[in-house]
């Protein structure tokens, strides 16, 4: 077995192993440390000694043993504690979902949820997570141990939430997965070597979640949205890291298989589950991805979808994106008027996207002087380096 396959096997198995150990013994904190050590042992021993017949059982056995040792070290200081008899824990169907829900527990901060999910469910090491998030390993280690402490203190057990609570908890899980996906975009350039792609990891985890909850339309919407967005990645940046806007992307470089899959998933979800905001966002991405050329984009349909999204889950970014679609349908002058109404929202005060859209629309009306100023203004306000470069280039072209 190659190193990559081994890595893949370990990461796929890790959450099952952890779930089984936590369900058997209840102490998430120590169990998680024990599973990390079992994974490390496997990564060291298996390449030389071969993969055991039942890798999962091997890992569960080693983790259970390590857990006892960890607890002994701890209790030696206090008093010897009677340890429960140790039959090897088995694996249950909903274990992985329970584990994911625990990692995304509402008592945790968002950064802790992300770090813990990547390690406990994603099977990534602290070092890998640190490289992916572009922060020191010690910082990630601290986020994970704080998260585990919070779980212990909150008294959250390894149990499936009650039916009435599950919906809300799943919303939290979807948010964490989307956050991981977006972290991948935030850090998408720079040294790729030995770095886990967080967008790929988020898609992998969402795929797993969809397999557990095939009838959840919003999980389907999330997976579709990720696939349809990530499909454009090869065309989104220039070799120098420069940003290529949707309208100028070389669409032949889009990932066709990801688009096909994303469209299949969203089409199916819209037909058989109640509609939700993630499904609409996926549908919008699908309309973009279906257009062979930028000029083929069905903006009227996108505008209708934004109207629906605006009714279902309004927000300042939805308002702004709707303005872009509105301007495509009704012309830049009408768009500028709609933009000024939208910009009155205090949540958008000083937001660079308002300036960037205004610049784009002024450019289209032929008002080059004001467009140039707005592009420069937007370039100063953005927190993204590729965006700043792009906006400066647009200003310079006018």
């Amino acid at each position: 077995m190659g190193v990559l396959n081994l890595d893949d096997l370990l990461r796929r198995t890790a959450p099952q192993v952890l779930a089984a150990v936590v369900r058997r013994y209840g102490d998430f904190d120590t169990s998680e440390d024990a599973v990390q050590e079992a994974l490390l042992a496997a990564a060291q021993q298996w390449p030389a000694e071969g993969v055991p017949d039942d890798p999962r059982a091997w890992l569960i056995r080693v983790a259970a043993r390590r857990r006892v040792e960890l607890l002994r070290n701890e209790t030696a200081r206090r008093r010897r504690e009677a340890l429960p008899p140790d039959p090897v824990p088995d694996v249950r169907g909903d274990d992985e979902l329970t584990l994911l829900l625990l990692c995304c527990h509402p008592a945790l901060t968002a950064v802790s949820q992300v770090a813990l999910t990547l390690r406990a469910v994603g099977g990534l090491s602290t070092a890998e997570i640190a490289r992916a998030l572009l922060v020191p390993e010690a910082t990630v280690g601290q986020r994970i141990s704080r998260a585990k402490r919070r779980i212990r203190e909150s008294g959250a057990g390894f149990v499936m939430p009650a039916a009435g609570e599950l919906g809300e908890r799943l919303t939290g899980v979807r948010q964490v997965l989307y956050l991981i996906f977006n972290e991948g975009h935030t850090a998408s350039e720079g040294s790729r070597l030995h770095r886990v792609e967080l967008t790929t990891e988020a898609i992998r985890l969402t795929r797993q979640l969809r397999a557990m909850l095939p009838d959840d339309g919003e999980v389907a919407g999330l997976l579709s949205l990720m696939l349809l967005t990530d499909a454009r990645r090869p065309a989104r940046t220039r070799p120098d890291g420069g940003l290529v806007p949707l309208a100028e992307q070389d669409r032949t470089r889009w990932d066709r298989s990801a688009i096909t899959e994303g469209i299949e998933i969203i089409t199916d979800a819209l037909q058989r589950t109640p509609v939700g905001p993630l499904q609409i966002q996926a549908a919008i991405a699908a309309v973009h991805d279906e257009a062979e050329r930028s000029s083929d984009t069905d903006w009227a349909q996108i505008l209708a979808l934004y109207d629906l999204l605006n009714a279902l889950a309004p927000g300042p970014m939805v308002t702004l994106n709707r303005v872009v679609a509105y301007a495509e349908v009704n012309g830049p002058q009408a768009g500028l008027k709609a933009l000024e109404d939208a910009a009155a929202d205090p949540a958008l005060a000083g937001h660079h996207r308002v300036a960037a859209i205004r610049a784009h629309l002024l450019d289209r009306t032929g008002d080059r002087d004001r467009a140039r100023n707005e592009y420069r203004h937007a370039a100063r306000l953005t927190l993204s380096l590729p965006e700043r470069r792009y906006l400066e280039t647009r200003a310079a072209r006018l």
Partner: protein, 123 residues
């Protein structure tokens, strides 16, 4: 989001330092060390350092492929960077909260600057 908290040394901060007792100076230094520990413990710390005196700085330029290192024009400079904290936290509000814990904020003010990232939306 990463934020850089910049601490400047200027005539006002030097005047505040001059007025401090030894015990207060000790507390000031301990305050920085404690803040670093607190940031590490909270999982937001990326890096933090205090900088040596600017008289020890070298100004480096390359002309015609030749590297020139010279002593800086420090004599007329009234303000210089004295130290920084680089943190990673979700919001500007949280970054401001950390900046408020920098001991220097009690005497002068510290600056919070967002760090550019590589994100990119499409339009």
């Amino acid at each position: 989001m990463k934020y850089l908290i910049l601490i400047q040394s200027n005539p006002r901060s030097l005047a505040a330092w001059d007025k401090m007792s030894d015990a207060e100076r000790m507390d000031f230094g301990v305050g920085h060390l404690k803040l670093t520990d607190e940031m590490i413990e909270a999982g937001v710390h990326v890096a933090s350092e205090g900088l040596a005196d600017p008289t020890l700085a070298k100004w480096v330029s390359v002309r015609n492929g030749e590297t020139i290192a010279s002593d800086g024009p420090f004599a007329e400079v009234k303000e210089h960077l004295a130290g920084f904290y680089l943190i990673d936290c979700p919001s500007e509000q949280e970054a401001i909260g950390w900046a408020a814990k920098v001991p220097d904020a009690l005497h002068t003010e510290v600056e919070v600057r967002p760090v550019l990232d590589m994100s990119g939306w499409e339009f």
